[in-house]
């Protein structure tokens, strides 16, 4: 009974969003405040309905109501409570409901905070937000009903996919959803700006915060996915250029380009068409990504239960393409740049190069992801495009981007004088060359040499900027160093927070270089008590340990790690296999890992025999990999610094906002 109510709530939300589209659009056309208010209320109402629906599904999950097909397929009695809760995003229908829920909550937050500005754009933004919700509600109501029931109550559920039963599975999809879904907000405002022809740059400034927030979640989600791959899948790496990984990466690329390019639009009024294309691409890639992970068109390690949602997605993609391009083309004359790019050695041209590099990487990733599929359709031959191709094509582009990340912020607007160039770049360049020379002692491979040199270059530019900023504040205000730094960040959060984000990227770059070029590995079968030596470590296999948990058995092979030169015991690692009762042919593994700032000792257990008298392992030594996870945290901190509300900024904003006439929307 209650689940039928859940379905009814979805239908009601669907009807309300149609209503919201109509009132929003008409309200904007006719400048009718009551229609606009109605559309705004619709956003709140839809959110309320979706929250209730989600609560109903959670109720069913937590109380084992297996007559609901979704719950039957994705849960079981002995599943720990945390995973029962997380099972809402463990399968097709539930995750679509979750998508819709997150979208509605984001919409509420955004419209509440942007309420009093951009009155001309708001009605159309409301309508577009409703349209996004409408698409997913159509899916839920017609193709993927999470509340579908059977006429009897099954004894027990079929269990959650074992691969999904770990800490990461609770957190990584949530981060990704918050990232993906949030991109609908800036997109809706872009559409609103186009429809209302309010194409000056003030909407861009407002929407930047609402792009940074999902960007932060998307970055965190991608890093967590990498961490999951590293810790769980046990192949020594963290990124396989798997189609579904790429699906999350593509919108990240265009969103990052957008975030940077709008700075130029704010300051100089150019690159307006670029920015429209970038935000449109981001939304298109979000929908495309959601489609590819669910429709089965691409094979990947992520496999969702397929259902009939594919054609709906394709229809929506066509609407997004045609609709947006129509709006863009008819408004092109209004998007002409207000200025020119004056010189090559300028911040504007650096950001333009940034756009082109990101576009190149996006295109290459799209190509590599979809080319096998297209080639198979057209020629019948199945090709596979795997990591080596991506690394070869995209690697140099990323190196160039890293370099630009260090150079760009230090160039001047419109033009940089030779004295300024000297002042900004002497130290970073010198130290980078020293680093490159030092690297020659470690390797003769040109890639990591250049890569590390560039990383150091960027690091020095960031340190330089902070040092100069702090020194300047001390000179003017006589502040102590910590206070100076705090004030720098508070007053210029966007700039100095941005530098911290760049620092995080550099750390990730360092980790990638370490893992990619300096990894060592070996495969070995050891008898109990036998040892193996690799990279200055000596690892001894001491025996099997097994434990029973709620719904699985954990079998681990203990390895003690010694320093090979001194014989000192460093630690022990326990690579494990988890064998699940409901899915015995899908064991999962836990990697045994010892992390230090310099390198990871990473052990995977492949098999054992004779009740543990011998076991087979793959051992990796992964240099510098821990910095990837540190870099992820640094990125999040940097974004928080950048979006933190700032008293002086708010005052400036409010001054502008007070020019908006009271009549519309309030």
């Amino acid at each position: 009974m209650i689940f039928n109510i859940g379905y009814l709530l979805l239908i009601t939300a669907l009807l309300l969003s149609i209503f919201g589209i109509v009132t929003g659009y008409l309200g904007g056309q006719r400048r009718n405040p009551r229609l606009i208010q109605s559309s705004y209320n619709g956003i709140l109402a839809v959110a309320g309905l979706l929250i209730l629906s989600a609560i109903i599904l959670w109720y069913g999950l937590l109380t084992d109501k297996f007559q609901v097909v979704y719950i039957w397929n994705h849960s079981e009695r002995s599943l720990p409570v945390g995973y029962k809760f997380a099972a809402i995003w463990g399968g097709q229908q539930g995750s679509l409901l979750f998508w819709c829920l997150v979208l509605s909550v984001y919409s509420v937050a955004a419209v509440l905070s942007i309420r009093s500005r951009h009155a001309a754009i708001l009605p159309y933004a409301y309508a577009t937000l409703h349209a996004s919700s409408l698409f997913f509600l159509v899916l839920l109501v017609f193709a993927a009903n999470p509340f579908r029931m059977v006429g009897f109550v099954p004894e027990d559920g079929q269990g959650l996919n074992p691969l999904l039963q770990n800490y990461w599975m609770v957190i990584h999809p949530v981060m990704l959803y918050f990232g993906y879904v949030g991109m609908a907000i800036p997109f809706s405002f872009a559409v609103g700006a186009l429809i209302s022809k309010q194409l000056d740059s003030s909407w861009v400034r407002t929407i930047r915060r609402w792009t940074l927030i999902p960007w932060m979640f998307l970055s965190a989600g991608i890093i967590m996915g990498s961490q999951w791959a590293y810790m769980e899948l046990g192949w020594g790496g963290y990124w396989a250029w798997d189609p579904v990984e790429n699906a999350s990466f593509l919108p990240w690329l265009t969103a990052t380009a957008f975030l940077h390019s709008v700075i130029i639009q704010e300051q100089r009024g150019i690159l307006k068409v670029w920015n429209m294309i970038l935000i449109w691409s981001t939304y298109f890639l979000v929908i495309l990504g959601t489609f590819t992970t669910r429709s089965g068109v691409l094979e990947s390690v992520h496999s969702f239960a397929r259902s009939d949602v594919g054609p709906y997605f394709l229809g929506y993609l066509i609407i997004v393409v045609f609709g947006f391009l129509y709006l863009l083309y008819t408004r092109m004359p209004l998007l002409r740049g207000e200025n020119q790019i004056d010189g090559v050695v300028s911040r504007e041209s650096a950001f333009l190069a940034n756009n082109w590099l990101f576009a190149g990487i996006t295109f290459a990733t799209l190509w590599g992801t979809f080319f096998p599929m297209f080639s198979e359709i057209l020629t019948g031959d199945r090709i596979s495009v795997a990591a080596p191709w991506f690394n070869k094509v995209v690697g140099p582009l990323f190196l160039a981007l890293l370099l630009l990340m260090g150079v760009g912020p230090l160039l001047g607007w419109r033009f940089t004088s030779p004295e300024a160039l000297r002042r900004q770049f002497t130290w970073p360049t010198l130290l980078a060359l020293v680093a490159a020379a030092a690297m020659f002692f470690v390797t003769t491979n040109i890639y990591p040499i250049i890569g590390m040199a560039i990383c150091l270059f960027v690091l020095i530019t960031i340190l330089q900027e902070y040092t100069r900023g702090i020194l300047a504040r001390r000179r003017h205000n006589n502040e102590s160093i910590p206070v100076a730094m705090g004030q720098l960040i508070r007053r210029n959060g966007r700039r100095y927070g941005g530098y911290i984000v760049h620092l995080g990227i550099v750390l990730i770059g360092v980790a990638v270089l370490g893992n990619e070029f300096f990894q060592q590995t070996t495969n070995v079968t050891l008898a109990k008590g036998e040892s193996v030596e690799i990279a200055g470590y000596s690892l001894v296999y001491t025996g099997l340990e097994s434990e029973r948990e709620g719904n699985h058995v954990r079998i681990g092979a203990r390895m003690v790690v010694f320093d090979a030169d001194t014989g000192r015991e460093l630690s022990s690692v326990l690579p494990q296999r988890n064998i699940y009762d409901k899915n015995p042919d899908m064991p999962t593994s836990e990697v045994g890992i010892r992390m230090t700032p310099l390198e990871d000792v990473y052990v995977v257990i492949n098999g054992w025999d004779n009740s543990g008298n011998s076991a087979t392992f793959t051992i990796y030594i992964n240099p510098l990999t821990v910095w990837m996870w540190v870099g992820g945290i640094v990125i999040v901190l940097g974004v928080l610094m950048a979006i933190w509300p700032n008293p002086s900024q708010r005052a400036a904003f409010n001054r502008e906002a007070s020019y908006v006439p009271v009549a519309a929307g309030d």
């Binding site: 068109v297 209004l334 700039r495």
Partner: protein, 202 residues
């Protein structure tokens, strides 16, 4: 941020922006712009069309996973056209083979013998030649005196629809078009053959 230029324009009142009225006439889109505009429309649409095609294809493999034998049509080496759907009501033994495939030779005699014995009893044998060339294929068929219908699987379409991982693979399809039994590798004995046949006898 001392060096930033102040470019903030105050938000307009409710009136939508008009086209620039500063005396500069609206310049019609240049040729380059029009090319870019066309590219941005055509490329995504092509992309979506290919996705749609691919979606349709994965549906056939879903069918197979559900036990339904995907339909196919092929032309035999003798020029005759045969469609699986026309053979409803009969049991069909569908064998994927190739002239370069050694294990296929292990079952070739058995297949032909069984065909001779079963063809009056409502069982049809079909052979689809995988990734092969006509002269070699015909030579193979002559060598084993194969008399049941054989033809090339053009573009390996049927192979993909049936999800074969190699040759030989044999599918036993019943009168309702469902895959009742499947053998990966050569059929080694008349008993194994009978196991499949018993499931599809009309």
């Amino acid at each position: 941020m001392a060096e930033l230029t102040e470019q903030r324009s105050l938000p307009q009142a409710d009136v939508a922006a008009e086209l620039p009225a500063d005396g500069v006439a609206t310049v019609p889109a240049t040729r380059a712009v029009r090319v870019w505009q066309a590219v941005f429309v055509v490329v995504p649409l092509l992309f979506i069309a290919l996705l749609a095609l691919r979606l349709y294809q994965t549906n056939t493999s879903e069918q197979r996973a559900a036990g339904v034998a995907p339909d196919f049509t092929f032309t035999t080496f003798d020029g005759e056209m045969i469609a699986l759907s026309e053979l409803r009501g009969q049991g069909v033994v569908l064998n994927f083979w190739a002239s370069w495939c050694d294990p296929c030779r292990d079952e070739a005699v058995l297949l032909e013998q069984t065909w001779q014995a079963e063809k009056e009893k409502g069982i049809v044998f079909l052979g689809l030649d995988y990734l092969d060339q006509e002269p070699q294929a015909k030579a193979y068929l002559d060598e084993y005196r194969v008399s049941y219908p054989n033809g090339p699987d053009l573009q390996s379409k049927a192979a993909r629809d049936y999800g074969i991982k190699g040759v030989p693979e044999t599918f036993f399809i019943d009168g309702e078009g469902k895959i009742a039994y499947m053998v990966i590798g050569p059929i080694m004995s008349p008993q194994q053959m009978e196991q499949g046949l018993s499931k599809i006898r009309p």
